[in-house]
Assembly symmetry: C2
Homo-oligomer: 237 residues x 2
DNA sequence: GTAATATTCTACTCAACAGTAAGTTCTGGC
DNA sequence: GCCAGAACTTACTGTTGAGTAGAATATTAC
């Protein structure tokens, strides 16, 4: 749902915002193009290996032009983060208002979350270092991320309460689910064998299988604390 | 090999390798101290926000001393990666030689993998960018990582074949599991509420629950990890 | 048209930091 | 007690890249 503007060429080729007639383009369109191009460059080469000159070159402009649209490099990364995060927040808002079991609602969120991470903003959301944003923006990112974490935990807890989900530790489960989804940003490349939607659907299936209660019949809790034997891992202090 | 010296103070405080009266220390010990200190610094501030002067200062030496032990900054990161990876490779080797169902063997690997990621080398293994190593070392890292990925897929496939594991897509499942585990490097901090072993055990439980077949099959008794907790809530349609 | 404003450019500054040259000090071997 | 080489230092170089000043050009308003 991110780039749904009907026939928007800047979605596939942001530099198009500058090409063609030098007519006064919408300021917002160009700003979006800057952000999207930056996100792609960061994804490809990393934040520190991407100079603003690189991004400018990809857009067919010069470095000061970028400063006309964003305050500095930090803020550029921050905007990439926000742009990518929006669909996830939307999905969570939707889930809050949707009726249904916790598990059903979580399934929807997992799907949309996965698609969002598979987007060009995935890197900025998942792999960018908080230290690269300043103290100010870093704290904002942290806050937004933990908000999402809490929302997922709430969904899990809801599912546990209504019996649609069976996990022992919702906090750990939330981390595990987030990890499985965020990891998409590490391995997925658009345009290969799988579409983002296929990946999302497959992960929904895998995770949902793990969340489901083991047996549909109620009222027979097993005292199961599966212990891993052979603990010969050296303690690190 | 890495930190096997019994009462080794350099494990907690690598700078100790230089302190004390004993000037001429073992070359290997100091080199390990350099690598471990670098790993911690990278974890804390990121690769690019850590200068070699920072690492040198943490060790109580000067920058050229670091060059006495490693060729350059890239190689330093690479060594951190290798150091962290070793326990994982060991766990996989062990699994290959161990009898038992695919699921049992995978459980062991997951545990040891999680502990390894929770180590001080977790950042270097998971979050370091391949581009920051050169083409040469980057390719080596990629190769080692994909080797691990293949091993996990093999374990999954083995479990599918012997009926102890039920997943539809082993490739996707391997990514999901790796993601859940690697994500530890993003959120876990040693010395807080949980020990590495506790985290590992909890994740083993969560993931194992997801891998288990839905209902017990004939001839393959499953360990009692299943757990259904029903609260008194009514089901909603 | 012309003034006002928006946009983009050229041409810089300045600091950070990887990496090095060349010298100094320590230590074990003899 | 002297030497060879290991270990470490001080003091540099060169480059890269973020960020800026101010001029130039385009676009809109009138």
């Amino acid at each position: 749902m991110a780039d749904s503007t009907p026939a928007n060429p800047t979605a596939t080729d942001p530099a198009a915002a500058w090409r063609g007639r030098r007519r006064r383009q919408d300021h917002g369109t160009k700003r979006d193009a800057v952000i999207r191009t930056a996100a792609r460059a960061f994804d490809e080469r990393g934040y520190h290996n991407t100079s603003l000159d690189d991004i400018a070159a990809a857009l067919g402009v010069t470095k000061p032009t970028i400063y006309y649209y964003v305050a500095n490099k930090e803020q550029l990364l921050f905007e990439c983060f926000l742009a990518g995060l929006e669909p996830i927040r939307a999905a969570l808002r939707r889930a809050e208002q949707t009726p249904g079991s916790g598990r059903d609602r979580l399934r929807e969120v997992i799907h949309d979350y996965a698609v969002a991470i598979a987007s060009e903003y995935g890197w900025c959301m998942v792999r960018a270092e908080h230290q690269d944003l300043g103290a100010e923006l870093g704290a904002q990112v942290r806050s937004l991320k933990s908000e999402i974490d809490r929302a997922i935990r709430r969904l899990l807890q809801g599912g546990i309460n209504d019996g649609s989900i069976a996990v022992t530790d919702p906090k750990l489960a939330a981390f595990a689910i987030a990890g499985a989804l965020n990891w998409i940003a590490h391995w997925y490349r658009a345009g290969r064998t799988l579409t983002a939607d296929e990946v999302a659907t497959a992960l929904v299936q895998f995770l949902d299988h793990g969340l489901a209660p083991r047996e549909p019949r109620a009222g027979k809790p097993l005292p199961a604390t599966a212990r891993v034997r052979r603990t010969r891992s050296a303690a690190r202090a």
